[in-house]
Symmetry: C2
């Protein structure tokens, strides 16, 4: 069995105007659907970050993938070459998916997932069963809350209804959370912060705690928007609210900043773990982050960490170091949803509910036959179907690809969107508070 | 596909009178052959340490394995339960395979290998291809030299010819090495030390270096027979001879002893890495060993580290920590030979040639159809056949099992053998020198 075709489909997905410290999401999120076909007619699918950077990396790996045996993933990785352990790999200034330093890792990850989908279909087993079997039968996800402006995303005929409405206050955030928890059944809650004044975000967390109680662990992630001083202030203020399985994610920029926040929080008796997907983005970063005690929970991602097996590797490394492991998310469709769910289910040390942007996308733009991935009590249940357990709706892919071709967006630029729609003078300033 | 039968075959294998700091090998080495069969008639084989301890652990895991889906290995591990991270797991006083603290891990490992053999046969792929594919196409092994008395092992009708002859001097060791390297094509050399006076062992290494040159990296392993003082003396004396890919393995006992040897060697400019399978025997030991700089090369083993995936995990952990990884061996037959070879080929960071006792066993006691595993230039080449790539000769298994039943040996006790055959007053004393 050899891979005989390698087909890349850039797509644009309507996305609501949600906010983070990077700025504002554009009306469309960019993703890439990868379809590999084998000589015996098996199709493997995958999903990667979108835009020109991703396309270029996938084009670069294509010649090594065409003709390969999909089982020989170690060989592909060794031939493709691991990125040099040098330079600033942090996502302080670049959103995940736009950092050229992990573009190669992301391309490999996309190919790996498609190959595992092929292998699963060839042997009639779900992907999770190819990777040691299920450490859990269902992958728990968290309610991923965003401050947002009014609007549902998309434009013209592609405009979507505004499912969650404007949300720029603690009260509307509680409403957003109730809506999301009611619908999906999530049992953990993540607030994307770094958008409003820290006192407002503190109040938001407090109101969420008051509404949902201790049974729903809380995390807040301002994407480095805060100074060390502010981070410590928030950590102290939310000592109780973030306890019991919650964490404080990337409050300040850089390994040094995170380590300083940790030292100062511990000095005043606040043991809230610090999580990160900004300071720590590759396997080479984990040991240094642990030595500095800068990070206590690493956010994995089967996309930019290099695939499902790479996340298993990361999870095992975190366990050996006594660190926690959780999962980061970007905007994504159902293919990534299943890649993330399989990854979680084969990574025993992953004890935190994973992040997902899935509630921010809609049926209208799903590329799966049968529509969106279903949630049960906040979890995606491992399928009995082979491979990733999904089938692509190629008409939908074609529709979203045609949309991509027509639209001007070729990379994610949240700052430009912020200037275009919210504040013409907006600049990303770190720390902002 | 479910496992419908679980069949355990204890076997006794003729073994020459080779020496280590634990004492003397008995005329028979004990191993256990495990055969699992599935509801659709696929057979998976495995090999484990021998004797009553191994049998008891395998009997204990049996009820969880009968009826299981062989793909669900994570679930089995979680149900079976990882050993508590406590107590002295070192092999300072107990030979590998006799330590009750890793008995459960070893039982799981035996089942995992048999399940992977089943899966490989079910999907028509070699085991290495189920674990990410080949990081290398052939597993390199080292010439594993032992001081020995005259005799080929076995007794009565089962006695074997003395292939290597008595070897209790540097000169005879060079002869042993030439014979082994000529036949197998090994490219690295390991001397089991801790048997003769350190000055004689130093001279042995020097003569090996003089004969084979820098192209053949050298390692020596006295199994903790030396004091810190003696270890440093040997390290300094063999600075040149152990350079260029060699190492000093378990010179002194305990994590503290190893760390002290390392400090003192570095202080005098000797950078020879210290390797260990005695101070470090489980994933919980690796980070502490690294923090103390007690060990720079960890010796894996797909048996007592918990299986092929556990060794992949260990290799990745070592790589993340900047440690080297190699592979330990006990007496074994062809089933373990293939388990070890597949493990090496799917563990990219394993850059050292692996240890194997295989040259110390013979065709006469091999349990594989077609006879012994073949070596090419010191390597075992990955098979194209599915699973482990081997088939059991059940007549041979029955013959060796009948022998086991008749013999009195039920555990490995090298000290008792030493007293019975060499010195009635022999005791294991650490450090001896």
């Amino acid at each position: 069995m050899r891979i005989s075709s390698f087909s890349i489909h850039p797509v644009a997905v309507a996305d609501p105007p949600i906010r983070s410290s990077y700025g504002l999401h554009a009306p469309y999120a960019l993703r890439t659907i990868l379809v590999l076909t084998t000589t015996d007619g098996i199709t493997g699918v995958s999903e990667a970050h979108g835009g020109e950077g991703s396309l270029a990396a996938l084009e670069a790996i294509r010649p090594m993938v065409e003709g390969m045996d999909p089982f020989q993933l170690h060989a592909l990785w060794m031939q493709w070459g691991r990125p040099a352990n040098e330079g600033d790999r942090s996502q302080t200034w670049m959103v995940p998916g736009e950092n050229p330093r992990d573009a190669r890792t992301r391309a490999f990850a996309a190919v790996e997932a498609a190959c595992l989908d092929i292998i699963g279909k060839a042997v009639n087993k779900p992907v999770c069963d190819l990777l040691g079997g299920r450490a859990r039968d269902a992958a728990p996800f968290s309610a991923y809350l965003f401050y947002k402006h009014g609007g549902g995303g998309g434009t013209g005929d592609d405009a979507r209804a505004d499912e969650y409405g404007e949300c720029l206050s603690p009260e509307t955030m509680v409403r957003q959370c109730k809506q999301m928890v009611d619908f999906y059944g999530f049992k953990e809650i993540k607030l994307k912060g770094g958008v409003l004044e820290p006192e407002v975000e503190i109040e938001t967390i407090r109101q969420l705690r008051a509404e949902f109680g201790e049974a729903y662990p809380l995390r807040i992630d301002p994407n480095c928007a805060w100074s060390v001083e502010t981070s410590v202030h928030v950590g102290v203020s939310l000592k109780e609210e973030l306890s019991g399985g919650g964490y404080l994610e990337d409050p300040a920029a850089g390994m040094d900043g995170m380590a300083e926040v940790r030292r100062r929080l511990l000095a005043v008796g606040v043991e809230t773990p610090l999580a990160s997907n900004v300071a720590v983005t590759s396997l080479d970063d984990v040991v240094p982050a642990w030595r500095a005690d800068a990070v206590q929970v690493v956010l994995s991602d089967p996309h930019y960490w290099g695939g499902l097996r790479a996340v298993q590797k990361l999870s095992d490394l975190c366990e050996a170091l006594g660190m926690g492991v959780s999962m980061h998310s970007n905007n994504h469709l159902g293919v990534s949803m299943m890649i993330m769910a399989h990854t979680c289910c084969v990574s025993e040390p992953m004890k935190f509910a994973c992040d997902t942007h899935y509630p921010w996308q809609s049926e209208q733009d799903e590329v799966l036959v049968g529509g969106r991935v279903k949630f049960v009590d906040g979890c995606v249940v491992m399928p009995d179907k082979p491979g990733l357990g999904i089938e692509l709706d190629m008409d939908q892919v074609a529709r979203l690809e045609e949309r991509y071709r027509k639209l001007p967006f070729r990379k994610r630029d949240d700052a430009a969107e912020m200037r275009a729609h919210v504040d013409p003078n907006w600049e990303r300033v770190l720390p902002r508070w």
